[in-house]
Symmetry: C2
Subunit: 443 residues, 2 copies
């Protein structure tokens, strides 16, 4: 190292901060493609984009009783003694609460059903651990309406979700559906009052197995063995569309809410019958939180790695914005955990990209005196829609080509080295080089 | 309001939080187009995208002595007593510091010159005031290299900036250029030692006028009248390319650094000669902060509203990442304040969009029994690349059409109401309605 580059100043060597992921350019390029793919699919169904601030009032974040979320609050490093306003602000922990607040606040300016998508970061102050991010992208769509919302949307949501996973070329994914009315109606009919405790334990079925769930339902929730077993019998039903209703009814429980749930889930499954039966399944152990879901609920999993946990989820709610506006606004939404999914694909080595720049063409700088011609060539190719980097200095050709190679640029363009000479273009992948005209050349 | 929709729960009516802007869907749609436009231009010059976390260690944020920035620090609402880690984290206040940290941290994985763009939000805990945001989008490009960086990039930056403003259809913009070597060389030759104080006052020339600057240079910086006047004489030079060097030299000050600055600025201006002379100007009152700029500096203004302040700025620095790595990494970058610019255009009524959805076509639902046919039509049109909303319920046609109209959807598609009938499509803008085939129809 030369003396010139030796610093006397104190150097703070930065390191990755646990839970805050960032990617190299070649990987970010793929993430950006993912986001564009997801955006295009959401828009192709007529969802409009909104963005809400990262920051909400704590009164908003806590309005639905989300005290167990690990919310980051903000403080100013050099806050005035008498300025306490920022202490009432926090970073949003999901996109649902901000969406509810937005809908209430802009109610008169929106056309209902309001179909929106949001692709933004959220923050959770969790303790750092493998695979858990404290800052992460979510991709959400929701449709919300005044007073009632057709069941049609309950089928549209999983169909869109399925289309997204397919478009991202993920390993095989399956979407599991349930309906909270089935769960609640059935458990109520069994005389179970602690629905939250019961469903929370049923939710663990895949993770800890039937025996342990049965034990915990008795020990923790206080159910009798018989009742616990009956509750478990419902949750263990995994079925294709044509079979699930019979499987539930064979349990011998009759309840109005339960029947409503079966009918809704049948409607949804019938409207998804154009998708592969093996990929869209009824799974009555899917529970989601009790807080706001009231009908259809769904989760997506890797078929070969269900233990990784849900890679997307959603459901229907009767009243999301009720904390903010005196209207009944039912809706349904899904959320795809982009960062978690992308990071998993990276870890699996499935994100491959040798390009470190979006540039498709690098224009060589033959000589400092030919800069004008080289710049004009680059400019002309750009006008024709190509992404073009003009090499920055008239160093040896070999080194210019090496730069293009290291950045993964496919074409190197040689403008005329002398007046009257022809342009040439080299395909870096094949080595082919031929005369070409920047006005008509096609990639 | 019906009894059913009357809530008993306490309602928290949300209101806009000062400094945290959000837009209605029709305006967000335009902002998204802006971002795509800017992204495409940045990429067309071969800049790759990166994103850094919103959150950095305070040691990173403060590494360059940015104590006067109003940094938001994070605290967890329910932090454990013994967990102090988050107290060392803050939201980034610009994209430059995170970029420097990123470059140092991933140094071995990057190919230099490293040309990156970043379109992200930043946060500043400023006191709320009109036109000042506490959360805002910035669009930055920077190129950084090891040991030295060709002057060519100093011309590329303002050219890209100019292309961006043009593409956004803004009111007329001018870009003003200067070179810190001219300023520093000239002021040093005058024997001025308080460069920071002097340039800070010269920077106010447009805002407070020459008389006040002259007064403050004497009273605050302690310059003699003669010296203050000479300093002011430089800053008042605004010139086209061909004139500025003569104008400086006519002041009679000779200095090596000053000459270097004149030569660099001439090179840059000559390389920008393809752009309109009235839009790209030398303005020696442009100062920028002293903290890291060392060569070319530039600012963009609305020609008709310079008092609005700079709508973009940038410059060259010798050593941005020196706080984080023991290498000399000179670079040059620009930053465009997207939120501020977009908000200004909104206020001026220049953001016009009657569309509340990206959907181009709404497919009518003729009857609940025809849902399958309607859904297939929508699906077919989507496969052909159109953005299509399927109407959600089989209400009266008039009300379905009214929905399409209120959302600003241009085409309404009528699938066959009975088997054997033809498809029809209606252009909502002209009222034209004709038979059509979803397989071959073109917008």
């Amino acid at each position: 190292m030369s003396q010139e580059t030796t610093k006397k100043q104190k150097i703070y060597r930065p390191h990755p901060v646990s839970g805050y992921p960032e990617w190299l350019p070649e990987h970010r390029m793929v993430e950006l493609e993912w986001i564009e793919t997801i955006r295009n699919i959401f828009e192709s169904y007529g969802f409009c984009n909104i963005e809400t601030p990262s920051i909400e009032e704590l009164d908003v974040l806590l309005a639905k009783g989300a005290t167990d979320k690990e919310i980051y609050t903000l403080a100013r490093l050099q806050a005035d003694e008498d300025d306490k306003t920022d202490a009432r602000l926090g970073l949003h922990f999901d996109l649902t609460v901000p969406f509810a607040r937005y809908t209430a606040q802009h109610f008169n300016d929106l056309v209902f059903p309001f179909k929106r998508y949001q692709i933004q970061r959220s923050w959770r102050g969790e303790r750092p651990q493998k695979g858990r991010f404290r800052e992460f992208y979510q991709c959400d769509i929701d449709v919300i309406n005044i007073d009632s919302l057709p069941l049609h949307f309950d089928a549209e949501m999983p169909a869109i979700m399925y289309e997204v996973y397919n478009a991202l070329n993920l390993p095989p994914v399956e979407i599991r559906l349930n309906n909270r009315k089935i769960l609640v109606g059935y458990l109520q009919e069994l005389g179970i009052t602690d629905l939250a405790g019961t469903t929370r334990n049923l939710d663990k079925l895949d993770k800890i197995g039937a025996d342990k769930v049965l034990k915990q339902l008795q020990e923790e929730v206080g159910l009798s063995y018989d009742i616990a077993e009956k509750a478990l019998a419902l949750a263990t039903i995994k079925a294709k569309n044509s079979e699930f209703a019979d499987a539930i009814r064979s349990l011998g429980i009759i309840n109005e809410l339960l029947e409503e749930g079966i009918e809704e889930l049948s409607f949804v499954m019938n409207n998804l019958s154009h998708l592969p039966e093996d990929d869209i399944k009824v799974d009555l152990s899917i529970v989601r939180g009790l807080d706001y879901y009231t009908g259809t609920i769904l989760e997506a999993y890797f078929k070969d790695d269900p233990k990784f946990g849900a890679i997307g989820s959603g459901g229907r709610y009767d009243d999301l914005a009720g904390a903010f506006i005196n209207k009944k606004l039912p809706g349904i939404g899904i959320s795809i955990g982009l960062s978690r999914l992308f990071s998993k694909m990276l870890d699996m080595g499935l994100i491959k990209n040798s390009k470190k720049t979006p540039a498709q063409i690098m224009v060589v700088l033959p000589d400092e005196d030919r800069r004008k011609e080289a710049a004009e060539t680059a400019s002309l190719l750009r006008e024709r829609g190509y992404k073009v980097e003009l090499f920055h200095s008239a160093i040896k050709l070999k080194r210019q080509l090496s730069y293009a190679e290291r950045k993964g640029i496919d074409y190197v363009w040689f403008p005329p080295f002398k007046d009257g000479q022809a342009h040439e273009v080299k395909d870096m992948r094949t080595g082919d080089q031929k005369h070409s005209d920047p006005v008509i050349w096609e990639i």
